[in-house]
Symmetry: C2
Subunit: 434 residues, 2 copies
Amino acid sequence: MAQDSIRQMALNARKAGLLLNALSNDRRNQALLAMGESIERNLPQIIAANKRDLQNAERANLNAPMLSRLRFDENKAARVIAGLAALATLPDPLGHVQYANELADGLRLYRVSCPIGVIGVIFESRPDALVQISSLCLKSGNAVLLKGGREAIETNQALFQAIAEGTAKAGLPDGWCHLLQSREDVASMLQQDDAIDLIIPRGSNSFVHHIMKTSSIPVLGHSEGICHVYVDQAADVAQAVNITVDSKAQNLSVCNAAETLLVHREIAPIFLPAVAQALRDKGIVLRGCPETRKFINCEAATEDDWHTEYLDAILSIKVVADIDEGISHINTYGSRHTDAILSQDAASIERFMTFVDSADVFANCSTRFADGFMYGFGAEVGIATGKIHARGPMGLEGLCTYKYKLYGQGHTMEALNAGAFMLTHRSIPDVDGV
Amino acid sequence: MAQDSIRQMALNARKAGLLLNALSNDRRNQALLAMGESIERNLPQIIAANKRDLQNAERANLNAPMLSRLRFDENKAARVIAGLAALATLPDPLGHVQYANELADGLRLYRVSCPIGVIGVIFESRPDALVQISSLCLKSGNAVLLKGGREAIETNQALFQAIAEGTAKAGLPDGWCHLLQSREDVASMLQQDDAIDLIIPRGSNSFVHHIMKTSSIPVLGHSEGICHVYVDQAADVAQAVNITVDSKAQNLSVCNAAETLLVHREIAPIFLPAVAQALRDKGIVLRGCPETRKFINCEAATEDDWHTEYLDAILSIKVVADIDEGISHINTYGSRHTDAILSQDAASIERFMTFVDSADVFANCSTRFADGFMYGFGAEVGIATGKIHARGPMGLEGLCTYKYKLYGQGHTMEALNAGAFMLTHRSIPDVDGV
């Protein structure tokens, strides 16, 4: 697409976004259901398109996990459609009064949640992500520009058509959702800083970083998880073995899986042999620091290992002198995603929770719990790895901002200064929806 | 300063920030008071430094408002010191439990407010801003890199010394606050994306934009206010004249002053002559669209006027066919700061409040009320003109983020999947401070 057409898309999305913001929750929920019906109706074409993507991917020798992520069949469609119905039942994220204060007699201030406006999302080669992201944007009243992985290009096009058709029938404003095709489209999108309010890139650290460097639009990065498990001196060994194995091996290819194990040197002689055996039983390859290799046989870890998100059956292990060396390692090499301490000592736990500078800090449980559904949000946009706006597992709230609405009866600053009225700053109780 | 030393500053600030985050509210408040005492003790040197800045500014022919902003005398010092004492009495923004949920038996999740970490602030030539910003960062547990206007360089240096001395005595970690000297320093700072979490630039739209384009660190812009007053068909004319005059003329040089007046054409024949007289009595020069000039004598407005924040005794005026043309003008030319509708019609007010895409949308009161102190926040960092993280008048909350703390008792995903325990998602009532 030419740069002009991306500009036009963004401007159309801006217009549509302003209209979406005024639609009732019922109307948005009806559109979510219509989206699901349209996917159901268009399923033969979508699956045919997916077969073409899969054939191309096989010709390009994509590996089995990639092919499995790319596949969009009846089962995945059913899950996606059920997800849309579930999203429609979640509470409206818009119109919440977050702060209500009577500044003076008859001068009432309300801070009310509202959509951000127009969001550009760049996501990986999972076609179901297209449905998930566009539906989350719709539920939160945002217009959206979507760019999926190029391996899924035909499936994405077919899904996008179905979504556009379904939501048009449900009366959504034209242009609320757009699909981009190429890297050049993304480059153009990143320049539309007057028409797009937020970019959400999902992918590797270096990809997210590239987007941040390229765009002057605010970016909410969803990048990799270099997650740590720190086993304290005061850990329960059997429990620590269990949690370490779960954090690493329960699912290898997710961002909340552990990549590095840090072990207090006082517990290393007992813990390391036990955990090594349990991890090897799950097929995990170990790479250890010199100290680690005094207690177990394994490959030598290099500096690179501490920086690496394997997403694979590999775990790096380092023995540390004390909890502070563990915390410092995490703050140096981690990606501020999720890190856990395993300890029965309350003071150590609090020290870890305070000083580890990550979105999710866990005590005595698996890193795998870092997830929006687990947290009770009902829906998840992803896991934000920055500190601004939204941090960690991000629900619908992360797709909203707020505005201040101030209602007066002729109030002026001149009159306030002249003593004609006084500031009272009385909290207004129990308001929801203005 | 060499780029190396800015790098070192940022890394020192990162270390200090992690320590600050663990200081109690009492310790932070004591440091705020120590800051005030040290400014008091060092006042002769600070005022002498300010005299040198003022002499240089006079030689450079700075205008009177600029000189007045630059001046730092006993009166300003007294106000600044009182401000520090007031800040110390505000509630702690840290450690608030924003969400507490028992995910399963014995698996408790808390979302707790915490400092962002390291913040870089670039601010205008008002030396009191240096004290204000550093104290807000301290209260919220953040380390800070400061860059003030170059006209205030000597005063800033003297104030910074006093702050560093006072807070060191109060036991704050070394390196929690740094002062940058030059534009090159700023350029280096913008590259430290692994050590600085947020940049807050205060200044013109183009300046804020430049920072956003240059840095890959998240930016919270505090840029200009192109604020509008829209006078609806159903306005009370006398009240509308009052509010328009207050919004424009009560203080010319502030970002929440009105720059453009939009008038519904049905009310223009009555309203325009009345408001023109009242504005001229205050010395305001008017620039009107062709339609406006049918009702009052004034200069012709050009396209440029709609884009301009005058910060001066000038007001541009446009007659619009209906409320939607008014809203559309604001969304096209405004800076998403503060815009007011003057109307006695509830439906028009709601339409305006919903569709104007600004941080502050007001009905029947002066735009001058867009202010953190007015809003009851006790302190103001500035007025954020973006939509992400913090929007509109920004209090201490805007300098905070949150982290998720999850406390378990050996919980693993494997056990959950095996049915060994179940998700319960029970809200944990009435927690504050974990």
